[in-house]
């Protein structure tokens, strides 16, 4: 059960125009840098991208936006990207904004075979428009549906041939949830290890959710807000 492919180019084989992709990461933290670069190179267009953020102008999903490869974004927060705002306000880009917790839970639900669930988030707001409302414990909730994708692309710290993954720090974020929700899920990792090297008790994403895995190269891991404190 060896799911290893050579590189990002091999991993994204089969991604076609107008497909729906999920991409892990929060801001630029934990994003699949190698696959994004390969998608730019591949030139696939008309994509619907489900990702918490849209990167920045010149990194992350911003690179796909620059090349106009994205038709629609499904995100919770896109505030760090001028090109994004321009395309959205001009109507070039469709945008579906979703509360962050609902986005995470909808991805998990998609992977877990839960087609829909009730959440209080968004009741009484634009987000609830057209959605079923039901009271539970005296409080209004809205019905949210599962999200799935033709391909989910996640970034992990370490992974093995079975696709078992371990993330590092807050680079975990949406990655484990999106990993569950792809018809095909690609994992790029900083370090590909031999089966048995990862302690079964501490694996974050079981290999069953992963179809392809490769070791990425030259991670830039750009920091969006470099905040420090003085040494006192």
């Amino acid at each position: 059960m060896n799911k290893v492919v050579a590189n990002a180019q091999a991993a994204i084989q089969g991604i076609q125009d107008n497909m729906t992709l999920m991409l892990g990461g929060f801001g630029l933290c934990g994003i699949p840098e190698n696959c994004i670069a390969a998608l730019v190179e591949m030139g696939v267009t008309g994509l619907t991208c489900i990702s918490n953020n849209a990167g920045v102008d010149d990194f992350g999903l911003g690179l796909l936006l620059q090349q106009k490869q994205i038709k629609k974004m499904i995100s919770s927060y896109v505030g760090e990207n001028d090109e994004f705002e321009r395309q959205m306000l001009s109507g070039e880009l469709e945008v579906d904004l979703i509360p962050q917790g609902s986005l995470a839970e909808r991805c998990r639900a998609g992977g877990a075979g839960i087609p829909a669930f009730f959440t209080p988030a968004g009741f009484g707001t634009e987000v609830a428009e057209g959605k079923e409302v039901r009271m539970f414990n005296g409080k209004p909730h809205i019905l949210e549906h599962a999200l799935t994708a033709d391909f989910a692309i996640v970034k992990a710290w370490k992974g093995d041939h079975y696709g078992n993954l371990i993330y590092k720090g807050t680079a975990r974020n949406f990655n484990p949830l999106m990993a569950m929700a792809g018809k095909i899920t690609i994992a790029e990792v900083e370090e590909l290890v031999e089966p048995g090297e990862l302690d079964p008790n501490y694996i974050h994403t079981p290999g069953v959710f992963i179809q392809r895995i490769f070791q990425g190269s030259t991670y830039e891991k750009r920091i969006e807000q470099r905040t420090v404190r003085p040494r006192s």
Partner: protein, 217 residues
């Protein structure tokens, strides 16, 4: 009038020992600098960490350790890391004791708007809608008026809502107010700010009962 740090200091007085607290971007983030001595609180950041520590020393930034504002942070002893679904399970499941966030408008019913200005600015709601829909205890930290001098405390929000009837308390540069069934109830004045000043800066229904003490910061 308080500055941003003053608002943060005043809100910090609301913290109680043993609380888990989620701080939004902006003024709320500053609260972590003013935790009263003798109490222990833990900060949650919705991108997946509990036990957030201070910013790292220069040169020790870790790209894999950020908060929801995308700032580099550190993890305290006893911290833990989790995915986004678990993070919002904590929030939606009401395991977080206090949420503090900024706002563009708050209504006298406790409605809040802070994510969108139609046609102008659409950054998205991030985790704010989940936070305000679920938290039992929500404090808004904001300036009392906007840059044009218009009140942000309204009878009804004019901007797209983030949540309905959820804000319990507001701390501004001018006042501390509780959101009650009858409207904004004035609790404290900022140093040097009169009740008349606050009345003039509050568009929604303001309830002033008895002597209004000045904040002790």
């Amino acid at each position: 009038m308080l500055d941003r740090n003053g608002i943060a200091k005043r809100i910090a007085q609301e913290l109680q020992d043993g609380w888990y607290v989620n701080l939004g971007i902006g003024i709320p983030t500053l609260i972590a600098n003013y935790i009263p001595t003798g109490i222990s609180v833990e900060f949650q950041s919705e991108n997946g960490i509990l036990g957030m520590g201070p910013f790292p020393f220069e040169g020790e930034e870790d790209a894999d350790l950020i908060n929801a504002g995308k700032q580099t942070i550190t993890a305290r002893s006893g911290a833990c890391i989790f995915d986004s679904a678990t993070s919002f399970a904590m929030i939606r499941g009401q395991h977080i004791n206090l949420t503090v966030l900024g706002a563009m408008e708050v209504s006298e019913k406790g409605d809040i708007a802070n994510w969108k200005i139609p046609g102008k600015m659409v950054k998205g709601m991030g985790g704010a809608m989940d936070l305000v829909a679920s938290a039992e205890n929500i404090i808004v930290a904001m300036t009392h008026t906007n840059r044009k001098g218009a009140s942000k405390l309204l009878s009804k929000c004019t901007l797209p809502l983030t949540g309905v009837a959820c804000v319990k308390k507001i701390v501004t540069n001018m006042a501390v107010l509780d959101v009650t069934e009858d409207g904004f109830k004035l609790i404290e004045r900022a140093p040097g700010v009169s009740v008349e000043d606050i009345k003039a800066a509050t568009a929604g229904n303001l309830i002033v009962e008895g002597e209004i003490p000045e904040m002790v910061i």
